[in-house]
Amino acid sequence: MTKRLALWAAALVLFFSGVLPVLSMLHSSLLLEGHLSFSNYLNIFSSEREWILLKNSLTLAFLVSLITLFLGVPLGLLLGKTDIPFKRQLSLILCIPILIPPYIVAVSVDNCLGQEGLLRLFLPAWVLSSLSSHYLGLGGSVFVLSTVYLPIPMLLTISLLKNVNPALEEAARLSAKWPLVLKEITLPIIRPGLILSAILVFVLCLGEFSVPSYLRYQVFSVESFTQFSAVYDFGSATAQSVPLAVVALLLLVAESLYSRKDLFLSTPLVSGTKTLEIALGNSRPYLFILVSALAFLIVILPLLSLFYSSLDFSVYKEAIKVAGDALTRSFFYAFLAASLLSILGFLSAYTIKNRAIWCWRLVDMTSLFLFAIPGTVLGIGLIATWNNPWTQFVYSSLLIIVFGYVARYHVLSSRIILSQLYLISPSMEEAAQLAGAGWLSRMLFILTPLSKRGIMAAWLCVFLFCLRDTDISLIVYPPGCETLPVRIFTLMANGSPGLISSLCMLMVVSVLVPASIFWHLRWSR
């Protein structure tokens, strides 16, 4: 009884925070002057422009996922499997871009290339100006988004490598050198995870609008976002955002069907054995220099230039004054949402793994869909659903933001915890059941401790994603209660460059502190 109640409650929270809002938007997109009509959808591709925009979106997403995959996997191998020095530090540095709102990365790279930027000290003017002219448009968007999403395949590779049964590699090492072992054994075994990471990057790029709009590259997501303000017709604007969501959803569904066939990844490990480490030998210093150079180029340099253009100390005082409260709120919202999502994600993951309620597949698909649909649609749907006199307590309080985060990032927590649950033998729970433990105590005292690592990882991941969220927060934050990314975004229009840089630095530091604490905890285990 408790079990059904808890699982249904989790499913219902997802329903009310995400499904209902999106349904209400889809409903309005199918109505034209009160009648059912598909004209909103039929109109989408009436002009050539829409097709070009869609092509641009797909090009951008494709290039970024390709680059991040082909750069991230080797990096993951180097940092997760070899004896390269300072691997912890290097991986943390390379992860910085994904922790901050993407447009801040765009701003910092811009700062670097700008006429007053840091690179001016090293490069001749004509190189700079040709670089910065290529920065606007596809080139810059690909660069920035690749920097931002590189950590996804990289981190996934590192963690997947740790889950490969060491004996599989050892068996191969008896006859083959490392390059062949990696190519034929290790990488094929973690391939499903790598494909997932590429698809994740692809979907995130499709939905990303702040970077292309800052860099003036015309893509579908920017169009569907601005559609909301061009004619103030929610119906057609929602219809406009559906094609991207459909592309994203199809990819994610295809992936989840595919990955269910590859069950060998979940072969449980022989406990206590460690995977082999690759000795780099003579090439160790060169590879170290190569990775450090990359980290310097795509992370440190842009950050330095942010720092450089905010060197004036008084600007920081100003920044804290205008954004200190927003920073506190950001932490608070993210903290609440992450905690709630750890519980919900656990319950959903349990539902999905055990097929515990009849709509388990729906729970999984829904959370994928909510992740893929543009934030604007979800945000306005939330307002339409929750803004009425009876639910005022939700809409006029921080709950509305938490709801938005829950709907948006549910899939992250449920998938991460699910992957952990798959590693736990069902007999664990069964043994406790035979011993007479009720469902609740089985969850609390058996499964929760066993999946502790997964839950913690999910919490951190969601926390960081909420902390950097811009698109949902921008639309639903209660008056006077904005978050730091929103504040930076709105101040960016005509704000003084020094102030913006220092606010961005504030954002970077405030994300890095919790991230590195957890990094430390995870590694010391």
């Binding site: 601005t226 303000s229 709120r329 006199p389 006077g480 005509n494």
Partner: protein, 346 residues
């Protein structure tokens, strides 16, 4: 292990502190007292926030604001207002141009209020029934690179062979450029306006994504001149870039310079109507116009006799385009399909 225990305790304490701080900073106490006013703002936060802070200081009324940016095409605020229609959260909307206000009026989201402070503002910049009132305006001006020898004097120079391929405008699908094109349609009539737009294409006028970008393209010498907002031009002048600002179509027979005022709207069903009216009165006062004139947004006061910085011309020295903003708003929705096609990527 011991160290990590301390780290955990410290983390716990940190979270507890955050939790309580967050709770304190974000509980909506006293929502229904007149000690609070909720305002949605489309004017850039950098310029609007100091004004609202001054209002708080002077009146003791707490201002809760939702900001938006031109960069995001004001999506957040306008869509909120529309989505919240049945249960409004905002009391006041501060728009950076009158068209959105007109949309609100037509959608039944605005309420009429005639402020006594608006008496000396010309009727051109006010809704006839009092649904919205204009103040501090931007002008749509030409920005030209100083290196260029001759000087464009009219927006029709965009279509003149002399400037073929040397001018740039922002995408007319968005922002003040949309309003400007719609205004031209109301002033010139559909036929002439359509012909003008077609001639822009023939004259190879480039399209940028925003007025700010246009101004930068002119400042860098990539294009000779562009049509932008006065604040974009003043901004570049104050930065010391080699540009000049020209008020277009002046003189007896010119169609005049298109003026885009800020606009303030009372929201229908406002929860704090009294505080809302006080805020509107405040925004429409000469002192606010003076502040906005000297701020980096360099906006032109609509009250007579307000002190202004040297880069600006007072309103009565400008030949203003005579438009009915209500008609412009209607026209704007009407020409959307045409504009989409016109701006279509080739």
């Amino acid at each position: 292990m011991l160290a990590s225990k301390y780290v955990r305790i410290a983390l716990g304490a940190l979270f507890f502190a955050l939790f309580s701080a967050g709770l304190i900073s974000c509980t909506n106490k006293g929502h229904d007292s007149e000690k609070t006013v909720v305002v949605y703002v489309s004017e850039d936060q950098v310029f609007s926030e100091p004004i609202l802070k001054d209002f708080e200081k002077q009146t003791g009324i707490r201002v809760k604001a939702v900001y938006d940016t031109e960069e995001a095409k004001s999506t957040g605020v306008m869509n909120r207002l529309i989505a919240e229609k049945n249960n409004p959260q905002a009391d006041v909307y501060w728009a950076n141009e009158p068209i959105r206000a007109q949309v609100l009026k037509e959608k039944g989201i605005a309420a009429p209020y005639v402020s006594k402070n608006a008496e000396t503002i010309s009727d051109v910049f006010k809704d006839k029934e009092g649904y919205w009132t204009g103040f501090s305006a931007r002008a749509r001006v030409l920005i030209m690179n100083k290196e260029v020898d001759s000087e464009p004097k009219s927006i029709f120079d965009l279509a003149s062979p002399e400037w073929k391929g040397r001018a740039v405008i922002a995408n007319p699908l968005f922002g003040t450029t949309t309003s400007h094109v719609a205004a031209l349609f109301t002033v010139l009539g559909d036929e002439r306006a359509l012909a003008f737009m077609e001639s822009l294409t023939e004259n190879k006028v480039a399209i940028s994504t925003s007025n700010g970008e246009s101004a930068d393209l002119v400042a860098s010498g990539r294009y000779a001149f562009s049509l932008v907002d006065s604040d974009d031009a003043v901004n570049r002048i104050r930065q010391g870039r080699p540009v000049k600002m020209v008020y277009p179509d002046q003189g007896e027979r010119g169609i005049g310079c298109f003026i885009v005022p800020n606009v303030v709207v009372l929201i229908k069903g406002a929860r704090h109507p009294e505080a809302a009216r006080r805020l509107i009165d405040y925004l429409l006062s000469p002192q606010v116009e003076r502040k906005l004139a000297f701020a980096d947004c360099a906006q032109i006061p609509l009250h007579k006799g307000v002190e202004i910085p040297p880069e600006l011309k007072p309103l009565d020295k400008i030949n203003v385009m005579k438009v009915d903003y209500e008609k412009v708003a209607k026209k704007m929705l009407e020409i959307q399909p045409f504009l989409r096609k016109w701006a279509g990527l080739k």
